[in-house]
């Protein structure tokens, strides 16, 4: 009995009980796959035949793979297209929402509708909006006297179309992060500035923007990281087309793994993606001190 009691109060025993289900899943579905993926990236395997070791072969092949290079640039294009514009609009909306406004809950709800809807549903609706002849967008453009392009079937306009939809979907989310940041700025700063005769622009430029920089920095890095991983919206709207014009890193990874059955090659793409995300995370962790003004 005494021995039993000691076990009951022994932390090691309980730690094992509490941790075991989680640890099993963590090892089997998170840690081992991460390591296995790294190992696979040095091999060639089609799932059926034998695995063969190719060393850095996949990586060197990627560097000279014209499709990979195009896909990489497409990802950057998507990133540069979505992040700055999406953040600027979200900041503008957050500032507007931070004024003494009625119906804050209504606006927040409206901007959150796309955020909670599934990307697949959003992509299907926007495909219809982008329909060149009967779609909503080209109708609105025609009212302004603009002859709209055939968005998703044009190699020039397909990516901008996807960028517009992505910004639309993510706006409410970024807006909310900015709103939280804005509400964290002490009101006394603005009051002091008003006594000194500062106008709206001065207050925005000298108080809001610098004091919001931790939030802005965080939102920028997070947006870039997630933009590198875009897939769903592109798969549904264009499947990477027309041609390769909207194919991105994860789409090419998906194709290599599950259409061409090149597991090793796809794993190498996954690790290049990981490397890029890792660098961005490091930047966020290390450089935050230098770029960001805290108060």
């Amino acid at each position: 009995m005494e021995r039993f009691r000691r076990i009951i109060y022994c932390d090691n025993f309980w730690a094992l009980v509490f941790l075991l289900p989680n640890l099993l899943g963590f090892l089997l579905f998170i840690l081992i796959p991460i390591l296995a993926s790294f190992g696979l990236s040095f091999t060639q395997w089609d799932l059926l035949g034998d695995i063969s070791w190719v060393g850095l072969g996949n990586y060197t092949e990627l560097l000279s793979d014209k499709i990979f290079i195009q896909v990489f640039w497409n990802t950057l294009y998507y990133s540069v297209g979505t992040v700055p514009l999406g953040i600027a609009i979200a900041l503008l909306l957050a500032i507007a929402l931070n004024q003494k406004i009625r119906g804050v809950k209504f606006y927040r709800g409206a901007y959150f509708l796309p955020v909670v809807s599934s990307t697949v549903a959003v992509a299907v609706v926007w495909q219809w909006i982008y329909n060149p002849e009967f779609g909503l967008l080209n109708y609105v453009l025609s009212l302004l006297g603009i002859d709209g392009p055939s968005w998703l079937t044009s190699t020039v306009w397909a990516m901008p179309a996807i960028i517009i939809t992505s910004i639309w979907k993510g706006l409410g989310y970024n807006m909310l992060l900015f709103l939280a940041g804005l509400q964290g700025i002490p009101k006394t700063y603005y009051e002091a500035a008003e006594i000194d005769g500062a106008n709206w622009f001065n207050k925005f430029w000298k108080i809001t923007l610098p004091l919001l920089s931790p939030t802005t920095f965080f939102v920028v890095i997070m947006s870039v990281i997630s933009s590198f991983q875009v897939f769903d919206i592109i798969y549904v709207m264009t499947e990477g087309g027309p041609g390769r014009s909207t194919s991105v890193l994860v789409h090419y990874l998906y194709q290599n793994a599950f259409q061409y059955f090149r597991m090793g090659y796809a794993s190498a793409i996954a690790y290049i993606l990981f490397f890029l995300v890792f660098i961005l995370t490091l930047i966020q962790l290390k450089r935050q001190k230098n770029w960001v003004i805290y108060y």
Partner: protein
């Protein structure tokens, strides 16, 4: 701050225009779903057809087992939510309140995996599911999602805010660590659990790439995969497609209106990820 009427007017203008842009695609989706095909293909487009037609919705259910997609998604999401809340809270308790060797190193390892993109684990998980014979079964969507490093991290952080005095008092009363977890920590963590639950639900319900890879047969599909499949089959019948889209987003939107606060919190959680 002084009230600045000009600024407020501009704010309303910006917000109103923005809100219209946000809502318009949804209105367009609903209006198209009630139109006859002859009314869909007209220029200039009309907001509403001559009368409300329900036949597009009937056709969706005739051609596709949308009800089944729902049940599949619901089942998978529920099991994943419960499972992940269970494993996350248990491990979160161990990491926050129990002392055991290698605890902090192990937790650092959990944190380290948070920065790894989801897609890195996709191929090994697929191989594992194939080895288990779980391809085209719901096990492949449920079991690997039962544990998340992020959920574990979140529960640990929340548990750390609970005063240690409560634990000591319970211990003196003869409570085992499980008793402390079950009778004190879980009831005190209801808001955190609800928020994490919504977050898990959003991830599971809207997940697309995993069902796309793991599921092949129509009766096993989830709502997003079913919708994408339907879009591939009827890429020009916009009225039916929009009806399917309405059906697929409606439950989430209803849940959103009922529990807006939790949704907002749950979704913003993902900002802490990475």
């Amino acid at each position: 701050m002084k009230k600045n009427t000009k600024l407020i007017t501009i704010s309303y203008l910006v917000l109103g225009l923005g809100a219209l842009t946000m809502i318009m695609p949804f209105i367009w989706m609903v209006s198209t779903s009630f139109k006859a095909l002859s009314e869909v293909f007209v220029f200039p487009p009309t907001l509403f057809g001559e009368k409300l037609l329900w036949q597009n919705y009937l056709r969706v259910f005739e051609r596709f087992p949308f009800g089944l997609f729902f049940l599949n998604s619901l089942k998978i999401s529920l099991v994943v939510i419960l499972g992940q809340l269970f494993t996350s809270s248990m491990a979160g308790f161990a990491f926050s309140r129990l002392k055991f060797p290698w605890r902090d190193s192990l937790f650092a390892l959990y944190l380290g995996t948070l920065i790894v993109p989801y897609h890195v684990t996709l191929i090994p998980t697929f191989i594992l599911m194939r080895t288990f014979g779980w391809i085209d079964t719901h096990y492949s969507l449920i079991v690997p999602s039962m544990v998340s490093a992020f959920g574990t991290f979140l529960m640990r952080q929340f548990f750390l805010t609970i005063p240690q005095d409560l634990v000591e008092a319970a211990k003196i009363d003869g409570c085992t660590p499980f008793g402390v977890y079950y009778r004190i920590f879980m009831p005190l963590s209801k808001p955190a659990i609800a928020t994490l639950g919504v977050f898990i639900f959003m991830g599971s319900w809207n997940d697309f790439i995993r069902p796309l890879i793991f599921i092949n047969s129509i009766p096993k599909m989830t709502v997003p995969l079913g919708l994408a499949f339907m879009q591939g089959m009827y890429s020009t019948d916009w009225a039916v497609l929009m009806a399917g889209t309405v059906i697929s987003v409606l439950p989430v939107l209803i849940a959103f209106f009922l529990a807006q606060e939790y949704f907002v919190q749950g979704v913003t959680l993902s900002g802490m990820k990475g």
